[in-house]
């Protein structure tokens, strides 16, 4: 408390500038916070080589309405990082499909060398679960690549 005309004119030690030295800390804190909390889709690193297609289109649906079914080369099926038996797929998918108000899109992410037999089985399972909209996930093929092939 400084009194007006009190006689003592003690110079304040507090700086009258905004402290900018800690601003960097705040920014880095934010940077690190976002780096740590960003979660990428868990099962993104399945060992799969995509089939290629020129006509591959973006899936026109919200991310939460897309269910990925992964199929590895040996025919093993993964849904949400969980391995499933082929005959269980319809049992697993049906409640999810009903829960999504029939808006669910199934993205079948199969390895390019999966024997078609397994692909047919999974389609039959999905039909049994009542699923209508299915996408065969594929990498966009450039025309140049096609010429070389």
């Amino acid at each position: 408390m400084s009194m007006k005309g009190g006689g003592f004119k003690k110079s304040s030690k507090a700086s009258d500038e905004v402290p900018t030295s800690s601003l960097a800390d705040i920014a880095f804190l934010l940077l690190i916070f976002f780096m740590v909390t960003t979660v990428f889709q868990a099962d993104r690193d399945r060992p799969i080589t995509w089939p290629e297609a020129e006509a591959a289109e973006k899936i026109d649906e919200k991310q939460k309405n897309i269910l990925n079914i992964w199929m590895e080369r040996d025919g093993s099926v993964f849904i949400n990082d969980q391995p499933y038996q082929m005959q269980d797929v319809s049992v697993v998918v049906a409640p999810l499909y009903a829960g999504s108000d029939r808006a669910l899109v199934i993205s079948i992410r199969g390895d390019r060398d999966v024997p078609y037999l397994y692909m047919d089985q999974i389609q039959k399972e999905l039909t049994e679960a009542g699923v209508v909209r299915v996408v065969f996930a594929a990498q966009l093929e450039q025309s140049m690549q096609r010429e070389r092939r």
């Binding site: 934010l30 940077l31 037999l117 692909m119 047919d120 389609q123």
Partner: protein, 141 residues
């Protein structure tokens, strides 16, 4: 001369930290802007409803039989004539066929041991040619 050396330098001997925040925010904003989350791409198909079976006249069906080596055998309806093709020729074939018969349905029958990518190649050709009536089946003997 010795007197002149005594003059205090005006240059600060500290590292300037005030611009550090700008650098950090610049980085933050740069990564915020340039980050694109990969959007999934693929070939969309519509599966039939359970128990739904449509009777289609044989003359409206174009059979595309995908063999394990990637060769596609094309059979038109009832005729027994088989034409062998490569998957990339399907697009042209479909465009040609559909002008002759707009009700044509593509029945893609894949051999159980054929790699999935050959079916995708055929499906890709059909999608490129804007085919809408596609049926996916497994080849039964």
């Amino acid at each position: 001369m010795a007197v002149l050396n005594n003059k205090k330098s005006k240059v600060s001997d500290e590292i300037p930290t005030s611009s550090m925040a700008d650098i950090a925010f610049l980085l933050l904003i740069f990564f915020l802007v340039t980050t694109t989350f990969p959007k999934d791409k693929g070939l969309a198909v519509v599966l039939p409803e359970p128990g739904e079976e449509a009777q289609v006249s044989q003359k409206n069906i174009l059979h595309l039989i995908v063999q394990p080596n990637g060769i596609v055998e094309v059979k038109r309806g009832e005729s027994q004539q088989v034409q062998q093709m490569r998957p990339r020729e399907i697009e042209g074939l479909w465009r040609q066929e559909v002008t002759q018969n707009p009700n044509l349905i593509a029945a893609v029958k894949t051999h159980p041991e054929a790699p999935y990518r050959f079916m995708v190649d055929v499906l890709d050709g059909l999608h490129s040619a804007n085919a809408e009536r596609i049926s996916l089946q497994v080849l039964e003997n």
